[in-house]
């Protein structure tokens, strides 16, 4: 009975361990950096082959070793791009999404070596180098993505101050309602500034404003700057505008961190599709003009 209980406990423990692993171990550390080692081995083997195999008259994508590297690189690129398909299909097991993502990151990094060796260090203004450069841009944005995913979520959480996004918007609405009634005694010019501040969309400003956190056309900031501090009503409006500015700052902080978290995908994904197109043109053109 005791032994059965123990066995059950062990079983439960190992189950829990598995769950902990799938839940709480970063995809970078997955299975003790398994895919990092596989990627390093791939790089090591391809570099050794490049150095040891004598290619006449010079290393070139068209030698047998060059074709081998090119085939590996092509297969890797196609497989890596399938992450977008894989992540939309919920499955479990050996090819869990985490394992897939881990392999995606490390094998993607090894493409720098495989792709560069495939070029034979021959670079020019042509479709072949276009494919190579697109590949490098995709990899660089991917590296950026991994870095920001590892560092930014903490500051995203810190910036929230235990508020949800909905509450941030709600708080702004509450301030706006008070502003509207507080601004009733103001003169025309000042009332117009308050109206402008109230009418401006909270999300106004383009991608650049979001990424930099600088909003030069912020109506609330303008209203604050233009408000005279004479009457009691004006002082109250100023106090509310300051509250509004602070609330906007929190929302904009949220926007900035999210933009920094998301911007790379707007390069990574379209350039991946462009890369597949360039790769197709590269392969077809090489054999079209064999």
């Amino acid at each position: 009975m005791a032994s059965r209980a123990q066995g059950g406990a062990r079983n439960r423990f190992s189950q829990d361990e598995r769950r902990r692993d799938s839940d709480h171990v970063s995809f970078l550390k997955h299975k003790g950096f398994r895919w990092l080692w596989i990627a390093l081995a791939l790089c090591g083997v391809t570099i050794a082959g490049y150095l040891l195999i004598d290619q006449e008259p010079r290393p070139n994508g068209g030698s047998w070793y060059g074709y081998t590297l090119g085939t590996i690189g092509f297969a890797l690129i196609i497989w890596l791009s399938l992450l977008g398909v894989r992540k939309r299909r919920i499955t479990t097991g050996a090819w869990s999404l985490k394992a897939w993502t881990s392999a995606h990151v490390y094998l993607g990094l090894s493409l720098i070596v495989v792709g560069t060796l495939h070029t034979g260090f021959q670079i020019g203004w042509n479709v072949h180098t276009l494919a190579y450069v697109l590949m490098l841009l995709v990899i660089i944005t991917g590296i950026y993505g991994v870095v920001v995913y590892a560092t930014l979520p903490a500051s995203l959480s810190a910036n929230r101050k235990e508020m949800t996004r909905a509450q941030m918007l709600e708080a702004l609405t509450a301030i706006d309602r008070q502003l509207e009634s507080a601004a009733q005694p103001l003169g025309r010019a000042e009332a117009d500034m308050v109206i402008a501040a109230l009418e401006q969309d909270v999300f106004a400003g383009g991608a650049l404003a979001r990424l930099t956190g600088r909003y030069p056309r912020c109506a609330t900031a303008r209203a604050l700057a233009g408000m005279s501090n004479g009457s009691e009503a004006a002082a109250r409006v100023v106090a509310l505008l300051e509250k509004r500015r602070d609330q906007l700052a929190q929302i904009r902080g949220q926007l900035r961190i999210r933009a920094l978290l998301e911007i790379w995908l707007f390069v990574h994904v379209p350039l991946t599709i462009a890369l597949i197109a360039a790769l197709t043109a590269h392969v077809v053109s090489v054999f079209f003009y064999w």
Binding site: Y67, R177, R210, A259, V269, P270, F287
Partner: protein
């Protein structure tokens, strides 16, 4: 403390109803129960939900009476403080209670109902970066479409739709395929640079490798290294990877490893194509006899380590039709048909030197260059002409000419000599005595006037000249013609001694001629004065040798060319494929065939 409580409602018609009441209390309770100071009939509100207490400093303390919190300025809290001067808003269910200080000193609490926000989820979407950037999908389609159209579809379509034209060896015809420049992996070599915009001149058909046939359509004159089957047999075995690649490539229609493009790889930049490396030659010529067992060629893989002795071409017998080749190790004897002791002519104190000193065109003892002058290609020497090189001393003057100069015997043909000698004894007959001429038709200009020579004397002159001790045999060997008449052995000297290699005399001009050619000690013209392998190795060792002040690492291509016939590769000057003097054919009719012929045969 007085609170002004203002309730704002809307009638069914949408009209606003405002009710004010003043409550003189220091604290207020808010809840769903009717006994609260502010009664909110809303199930989301507790019976006794919130108490507002006026504090000594003029602010209002707000606290939840139960466990359920309330909204204060958008944030859910259990207690908080509102300064009526700046105001605040309490949210309880659908009600919003705005707290503010009125001008009369009252603290007002304005209650209004807000409609449930239906678009809240949509508003949250604004937090995503996607709301301010074009969609990833649209950008993907745009980029991929532009690349596929411009870099793939346009060139492919224009290649398939063109009308093929015959190749132009001048490379002046522009290409028809548009936008295929982006497919080029690199600039073409100098010689092919004019084809840069005409890809289809080499890449004729889609998905077909560049064919030898296409190369030969312009390079008609290029000779092959050897017959194709012998090249294949002599080749060293390929590495596993290369063998696999060639198996796949040839099955897909690519020319084999002996095709033009497997050596002449293009698109490597706008430079002169490099000569082949030593390894390229040594691949086959190292241990060649193990694969090509019947070859007459010696094995070679490094000039300093393994290279056969030179086998110059020369005439081994008098009057032979063709030169032969023999190793310098066999001490070959040249039968050129000339007598020429180099030592006599080069001795700075001998008779030849004295004679040269006395002649204005020399003025010094003879030197090599007085007779031997370099060819235009700076590799070989021009033919030595008797009239230019020898006649200064070995005069052929035969008498005085009518114009007061000298008449000369013509050199080169015995028939010319016979004519000239016959004319020696002739000439205007002297007058019999001063002041008298012959009469009538016998006078000069008359029908019977004639200048007679003495036939016997002319015949004897020719015979003497050609016989041993005669003027001709100073340099030539006497012989007899088919009818027994006196004649000379014809002079036979090959155009080039080293027929399969190139020796640039220009490159060696800082050396003395006699450093390599033992001319100053050569007593007879039968000495073949070509330096041997050992003397070259004083300075030249293989490509792997270490370069020093004296040692020159020498690749095969320094002396040899691959295609026959062809010239020597050099970094400047002539292009590699200029045609030098044809080498002597080893057997009649067995001359090297051009690539086209061989390739034609191989294809059959």
């Amino acid at each position: 403390m007085a609170f002004l409580i203002r309730t704002i409602d809307f009638t069914a018609a949408g009209r606003e109803l405002i009710r004010d009441r003043v409550v003189e209390q220091d604290s207020l309770t808010i809840g769903r129960a009717a006994e609260n100071d502010i009664h909110l009939p809303d199930l989301a509100v507790e019976q006794h939900h919130v108490r507002i207490v006026a504090q000594a400093d003029g602010t209002l303390g707000v606290e939840a009476l139960g466990t359920l919190g309330f909204g204060l300025d958008g944030r859910v809290v259990n207690q908080g403080v509102i300064d009526p001067r700046t105001g605040g808003e309490i949210a309880l269910g659908a009600a919003r209670l705005a707290v503010a200080r009125e001008s009369d000193g009252h603290t007002s609490i304005t209650i209004r109902q807000v409609a449930a926000e239906e678009g809240k989820g949509d508003a949250l979407r604004g937090f995503a970066l996607a709301s301010v950037l074009p969609s990833k999908r649209a950008m993907s389609w745009l980029f991929a479409g532009a690349i596929l159209l411009a870099l793939l579809m346009v060139p492919v379509a224009s290649h398939l739709l063109r009308t093929p034209v015959k190749n132009d060896p001048e490379g002046k015809t522009p290409g028809q395929v548009v936008m295929d420049a982006a497919w080029s992996t690199g600039a073409l070599s100098l010689k092919h640079h004019s084809l840069e915009d005409n890809c289809e001149s080499c890449h004729v058909a889609a998905f077909e490798s560049v064919a030898d046939e296409t190369c030969i359509s312009c390079h008609k004159e290029t000779g092959d290294h050897a017959a194709m089957p012998r090249l294949a047999k002599g080749m060293a075995p390929l590495s596993t990877g290369d063998a696999l690649q060639w198996r796949i490539a040839t099955s897909l229609g690519k020319e084999g490893p002996l095709g033009c493009v497997s050596c002449h790889s293009e698109h490597e930049g706008k430079v002169r194509q490099k000569p082949a490396s030593e390894a390229f030659c040594a691949d086959c010529h190292d241990a060649l006899d193990t694969r090509l067992t019947d070859t007459a060629l010696g094995n070679a893989h490094d000039f300093g380590k393994e290279h056969p002795q030179f086998r110059p071409a020369f005439y081994a017998s008098f009057g032979a039709a063709r030169p032969v080749r023999a190793s310098l190790d066999s001490k070959p004897i040249e039968r050129s048909g000339l007598k020429f002791p180099h030592d006599v002519h080069m001795d700075a104190r001998g008779g030849a030197a004295r004679m040269a000193l006395s002649l204005p065109q020399y003025g010094a003892p003879l030197e090599c260059k007085d007779c031997h002058s370099l060819d235009a290609d700076r590799i070989g020497f021009k033919e030595v002409k008797m009239e230019d090189a020898c006649e200064g001393c070995h005069s052929l003057v035969s008498g005085r000419s009518a114009g007061g100069g000298f008449s000369k015997l013509r050199h080169g043909d015995v028939k010319d000599l016979a004519e000239d000698l016959a004319r020696v004894g002739t000439g205007p007959r002297a007058d019999l005595s001063a002041g008298r001429s012959r009469p009538g038709q016998f006078a000069r200009g008359g029908a019977y006037a004639a200048d007679f020579g003495r036939p016997v004397r002319a015949y004897i002159g020719l015979s003497n000249a050609l016989s041993p001790g005669g003027i001709c045999t100073e340099c030539h060997l006497p012989a007899r013609g088919p009818t027994g008449q006196a004649d000379l052995v014809p002079v036979n000297l090959p155009d080039r001694f080293l027929t399969t290699g190139f020796f640039s005399h220009e490159a060696h001009k800082r050396e003395e001629c006699t450093d390599c050619h033992a001319a100053d000690t050569s007593k007879a013209a039968t000495d073949l004065l070509i330096p041997d392998l050992k003397s070259c190795r004083d300075c030249h060792l293989g490509a792997s040798a270490v370069k020093t002040k004296k040692i020159v690492p020498s690749e095969c291509a320094m002396c040899h060319a691959y295609h026959l016939p062809s010239g020597q590769w050099s970094p400047q000057g002539n292009a590699p494929h200029y045609t030098p003097a044809p080498p002597p054919a080893s057997k009649p009719g067995g001359a090297k065939t051009v690539v086209a012929a061989i390739a034609g045969k191989a294809r059959k």
